[in-house]
């Protein structure tokens, strides 16, 4: 069994499978090629957790922070392209999300960070959507969502 955080990450990719023409990459560390634009990158950034019960094994309330980064290049209105893709991502991850059923209790979009640059061949933009994903496990079974 895999950690629930990994299952959530994979569920994000499943939910986003049709976004950006299917160019969705999980935890990619190498840069995208031009022909992979627009692309969507999914990764886990951090997690906070706290005990949610007394006794052992304790129930752990966890909040994983996942990032969905959209990257697009267009000669005109790259910000419009980004916003359109953001809309696709937000709709795909809105609760209730079938891919996350049984894994996450609450999925919340907490911020969107948009950046534009003209440094490359064409105007390039990125939108980083940050999601807080609340889920529970017991401390001795982090592979099973409660």
């Amino acid at each position: 069994m895999t950690h629930v955080r990994q299952q959530i990450r994979e569920a994000f990719c499943t939910a986003l499978a049709s976004v950006a023409g299917g160019r969705v990459f999980k935890s990619r560390v190498y840069p995208l090629e031009q022909q992979e634009l627009p692309g969507c990158l999914v990764s886990a950034a951090s997690e906070v957790s706290a005990a949610g019960s007394m006794g052992v094994p304790r129930l752990m309330n966890r909040t994983a922070r996942l990032q969905v980064r959209i990257v697009a290049a267009e000669n005109a209105d790259v910000d419009d392209v980004l916003d359109s893709l953001c809309a696709d991502v937000e709709a795909a991850l809105a609760m209730p999300c079938a891919a996350l059923a049984g894994l996450a209790q609450v999925v919340t979009l907490t911020s969107t960070d948009i950046r534009l640059t003209g440094a490359g061949m064409r105007p390039l933009g990125s939108a980083e959507l940050t999601y807080d994903v609340q889920y529970r496990t017991t401390e001795n079974a982090p592979t099973v969502a409660r």
Binding site: L32, E33, Q34, L37, G120, M121, L124, S126
Partner: protein, 103 residues
């Protein structure tokens, strides 16, 4: 010979000897210069990209403005295509660097 005259001769010789491209401005004026597209990774290293620029004599690009179209012919390095001037940066010594956007 005054220094500025030497500078102008050196610039002209450098562009003449090192030019690898002709930029045709708005389908009219042909300008010889050096076309380079260095590899870059913009957007925080998330994308493989290149930063195309064209260097030429400032005197040859007096009418160039941001947004002008430049047809680049640099066949010796395998580059031909249409670009737009997005940044025009004179270096103050007679050479101008034009930042390009691929159209």
């Amino acid at each position: 010979m005054a220094f500025e005259a030497i500078e102008a001769r050196v610039n002209a010789a450098a562009i003449r000897k090192l030019a690898n491209a002709t930029a045709t401005l708005n389908d009219q004026l042909a300008i010889r210069g050096v076309f380079v597209q260095s590899y870059i990774e913009p957007a925080g290293g998330m994308v493989e990209d290149a930063a195309p620029v064209f260097r030429c004599l400032a005197a040859d690009a007096l009418t160039l403005e941001q947004g002008d179209e430049l047809g680049i012919d640099a066949q010796t390095i395998g580059v031909t295509g249409d670009y737009a001037a997005r940044g025009i940066e004179p270096d103050g010594t007679g050479i101008v660097l034009v930042r390009l956007e691929k159209l």
